[in-house]
Structures are given as C-alpha cells and as structure tokens.
C-alpha cells in the first residue's frame, strides 16, 4: 500500500475542490495525467502492452508488491487496442470455479476503482441479463445459476415476465428467437473503457513508473534461458522480469521469445447506433445470436457482434456477421429497427482452445505471459492485473492464476467456458 500513498501525494488529486479551484483560474492548472518519459537503461520489470491488462498489472505490482521501477511499453497509444474497442460489459457469471473467481475479483475491484485510482471510471452496476432463447440455454443458465450460488457470485435465473419487466422494449414472443428466461446478474454492468486505461496510467505514472508509448518491441533478448531485456524501436531496454500482455499479438511476441502459444487471432466486431432517449437501463446479452446490447450514457445503443471464423489481424471483420447480429436483435428489440448505425469497428482477439485465458510462466525464465482473454477481456482487467502482478512479483502464480497456466493444455486440465457456459464466442 505504501508506494501508492506516496505516489498519490505527488499526484494532484482530483476532487470537487480541485474543480472549484480551477474554475476560478480559468482551468490553467490542470496537469498532464501521466508523464511521457524517455526510457531508462533498465528496469526491475517491463510490461509489454499499455492496454487495460498491462496497466493494471503495473499498478498492482506497485500497489500490492511495492515494485515501482517498472516500464510499460506500448507500440501505439495507451488503451488504443482492445481496451478502446470493446462493449464495456462487466460480469462474472461464469460456470467454472477458476473463471468465476478471477472475474468476480475483477468485478468487485471495479466497484471501488474510481475511489482507488482517484479517477472516475463511470462504473455503472446497472445489472446484466443473458437471455435464454433456446431450451438448451435454459438448462445451461439454470446450471450456471446453481454453480454461481456455490461460488458466491450473486446471480439469479428469471422467467420471461421478469425479463420483460427489466427491459420493456423487448419482444419476448418472437417467432424465431422467443425469450424463455434469463440469467440475471444484478451487480454486473458497464464502465467507461478509456477511463479505466487512463486511470491506471495516471496512477502508475504517479508511482514513478514509465509509460512509454510509440515504442514497438522488435525482439526479446535472453541469456542462459533467462530474459535480460527487449529490443525496441527506441533501443535496447534491460529488465529483470518481463510481462507480455498484448492480446491479439501475443503469438508474435512469443515467437520473438522463442516459444509458441496455443492461440489464434480473430476479429471481433462491435458497432454503435445514433443516440436516442434512455430506453433500456440494463445490459442484455443474447448468446444464441451472438449479440450484446446496452445503452451508453450518450444514448447510443452499443452492440457487440460475433467473431469471424478465420485468422485475421486487420481490425475489421466481415459484414455478414453484423447483419446476422442485427437481424436477430431487431426481432428481439423491434424498436431499434429504424436506428441508423454510426460507427463499426473490429478488434483482434486472442482465442485459446478452451476459451479461458493464460496467466503463466513461460519456457523463458523470468518471462511471463497474460493473454487469451478472447472476446471477454475488458471485464477482467483489474482481476487479471492483480493475478499477473502476483505472478510477476513472486515468480509463482497465486490462487487466482494457478489454474490458468499454459501447461493445462498438455495436461488436459481445461477450463472449458466455450461450451458449458453458453458464452458467446
């Protein structure tokens, strides 16, 4: 805890008094939220990837483990990858115990994140419903509800009438996609995705960590089976420990470090409509049709679609997937049929064989990897950072990460979330 508090003293706190003070002096006193330093010759730890997961890892390295001589290296700009491309949904209603544990840890950290970081991440625990639109989904969600009860995750299976009550704009009697029930997580919701990255970056910078943007890693240097540093477009930077937290491009980095990951990169798409008046105050996931729907604070309907079935690094997906998603959502939510769609984008997600993440040591000594979050990384950011920081600080995985090691594929110890939980992938 100590370094964070010292850091907070160096960082000017945001508060109602700060707003009043700045209002009186024409907002001339706001400082940059984080520094843009030149890289030092070496660090105690380097994290590759300044997205949510990478910055959260750096933050908890400092806050929980007192390691602050840390650099976070980013080839683009911070939060510019999947952190800026998701549908901002936060939930923890997973089936398997290890998943429920890490996602619930993340969800609970989101609750106090704004206070913890002194940065408003606009966490909105508005509730989340996963629609059951086939009989197998009904059985699946009943099973998940029971599993969640045993795991201490608060969820509830609800009937179609309750679904209708929670979201009056839904049509529960559609001919192709009738609503048979839903899995309701009251404490699920959304947060402002950019603010999560910015808040962590500001807190890391205040602890004295270096966030180095526009710096691409081009090679990993090792000596006698242990990592000694990384080659970058800004020169060689030495390090005692290396964490790779780069989602879609994990495979490329692993290749530089001399090992392979059980991962394939595919494009996942999302889109937003023109803004409309408030009409739905819960998050809806329709997994049968691979569609998510929520309304942003600006009034836009935020819609998440499905993934392409082929390897893709282009950050744009196939149009027909959007068509499939919207076709089904229009039947379930008839009032959105006239909405114009404003923007569409894609992110490169890293899919593992069992659709669960990898937080693991690697064949290269002192090199750690956090990847494979696939289509569901945003919700996990704080929990993932917490677990990865523990792994990097101690060299061994803690209770949150121990099930997510890379060797589970060889051992057949899968954390199978792709089929069992009915999660859209």
């Amino acid at each position: 805890m100590k370094p964070a508090i010292e850091g907070a003293l160096r960082m000017k706190r945001y508060s109602v008094f700060a707003i009043a003070r700045e209002a009186l002096r024409h907002h001339s006193g706001w400082e940059k939220a984080w520094a843009s330093p030149v890289p030092k010759a070496s660090y105690d730890a380097i994290i590759i990837g300044a997205g949510g997961h990478g910055l959260a890892t750096a933050y908890y390295l400092g806050k929980n483990h007192g390691i602050t001589n840390v650099a976070v290296i980013e080839k683009g700009w911070l939060g510019g990858g999947n952190t800026g491309r998701n549908t901002t949904i936060i939930r923890s209603n997973y089936l398997q115990d290890p998943s429920a544990a890490i996602y619930e840890k993340a969800r609970s950290l989101y609750e106090t994140m704004s206070q913890d970081l002194n940065y408003n991440v606009m966490f909105s625990p508005r509730g989340l419903v996963m629609l059951a639109q086939t009989h197998s989904e009904v059985r699946g969600y009943l099973r998940t509800a029971h599993a969640n009860a045993l795991q201490g995750v608060e969820t509830q299976y609800i009937g179609p009438e309750k679904v209708k009550e929670l979201m009056p704009i839904i049509n529960i009697n559609g001919p192709r996609y009738p609503v048979l029930g839903g899995l309701w997580q009251k404490r699920g919701g959304t947060a402002r995705h950019d603010a999560v990255a910015w808040g962590y970056a500001r807190a890391c910078s205040a602890m004295g960590m270096d966030i180095i943007q526009q710096c691409e890693v081009t090679g990993v240097r090792s000596d006698a089976g242990r990592v000694v540093g990384v080659e970058t477009t800004k020169g060689f930077i030495g390090t005692k420990k290396l964490g790779m937290v780069v989602a879609g491009h994990s495979g490329q980095l692993a290749q530089m470090a001399g090992f392979r990951l059980p991962i394939e990169a595919v494009a996942l798409q999302a889109l937003v409509s023109e803004p409309i008046k408030p009409c739905m105050d819960v998050v809806v996931m329709a997994n049968t049709v691979h569609g998510y729907l929520s309304q942003s604070d600006k009034g836009e309907m935020v819609i998440g679609g499905g993934t392409d079935g082929f390897n893709n690094y282009t950050q744009r997906g196939s149009f027909h997937h959007i068509e499939e998603t919207l076709r089904a959502l229009v039947e379930t939510f008839p009032m959105i049929s006239r909405l114009k769609m404003l923007r569409q984008w894609g992110g490169i997600v890293d899919m593992t064989g069992d659709r669960s993440p990898i937080i693991s040591k690697t064949p290269l000594g002192n090199c750690f990897v956090n990847c494979g979050w696939g289509t569901g990384g945003f919700k996990a950011i704080p929990g993932s950072g917490w677990a990865m920081a523990e792994l990097m600080a101690k060299g061994e995985p803690g209770p949150l990460a121990e099930a997510f090691t890379m060797d589970r594929f060889k051992e057949g110890r899968f954390i199978d979330e792709s089929v069992a939980a009915g999660v859209a992938h």
């Binding site: 491009h249 990169a265 082929f310 390897n311 893709n312 594929f409």
Partner: protein, 107 residues
Amino acid sequence: MLTLQCPYCGVQADETELAPGHEAHLKRFSVGSSDEEFEGYMFARKNPKGVHFERWRHAYGCGKWFLAARDTNTLEVFGTYSAQSTEPPADLVAKIKQKRPDWEGYK
C-alpha cells in the same frame, strides 16, 4: 468480403458461401505419440501475421473441402488448391514469394 475460388467447381465463392476450417497441413498425432506431440497437434497453431495456409469448405456450393493461401494481415488471397495436397503447390509458393519477399517460406 472475402472471395475464394473453389478449385473443384470453379465458382468465385463469397465468404457467406464458405465455412472456415482453420490451419491446413497439420500433422496428426494420436495413439502412441508423446504428450508434447499431441499437444502440438491439438493446440499449437502457427497463427502468423501474414501468409497463412488454411482449410475451407464450399459449404453452400459443391460441399467439398479445399485449401487456400491467404494473408491474415491484408486479407489478400494468393490462391486455392485441392485438399488432396500434403503441401502447397510449388507454383503457389513461388507466387507468394514474389509478392512477399520477406516471407520465410512454407515449413
């Protein structure tokens, strides 16, 4: 939209007509192989950012499996060929090499 020519029926097939089947030319390991070999066959994929050889099925056409060479970074299709091939045809490899001089080659 991705368009691949089916090598069997010759149709220029849109992506919506096709079913993707992931990496091609996998060496299969089964009973009697080591844990590492089986893990590699089951899970380790090349997942390149660039030239990729993969399986596709002309699902809403002739129904047959075929193989394709495609760039995962630009979505450019280099060519398609028969599924009865144990490795990419030499002329296709030469064509890719010409377009992508930095490509390390098949293998």
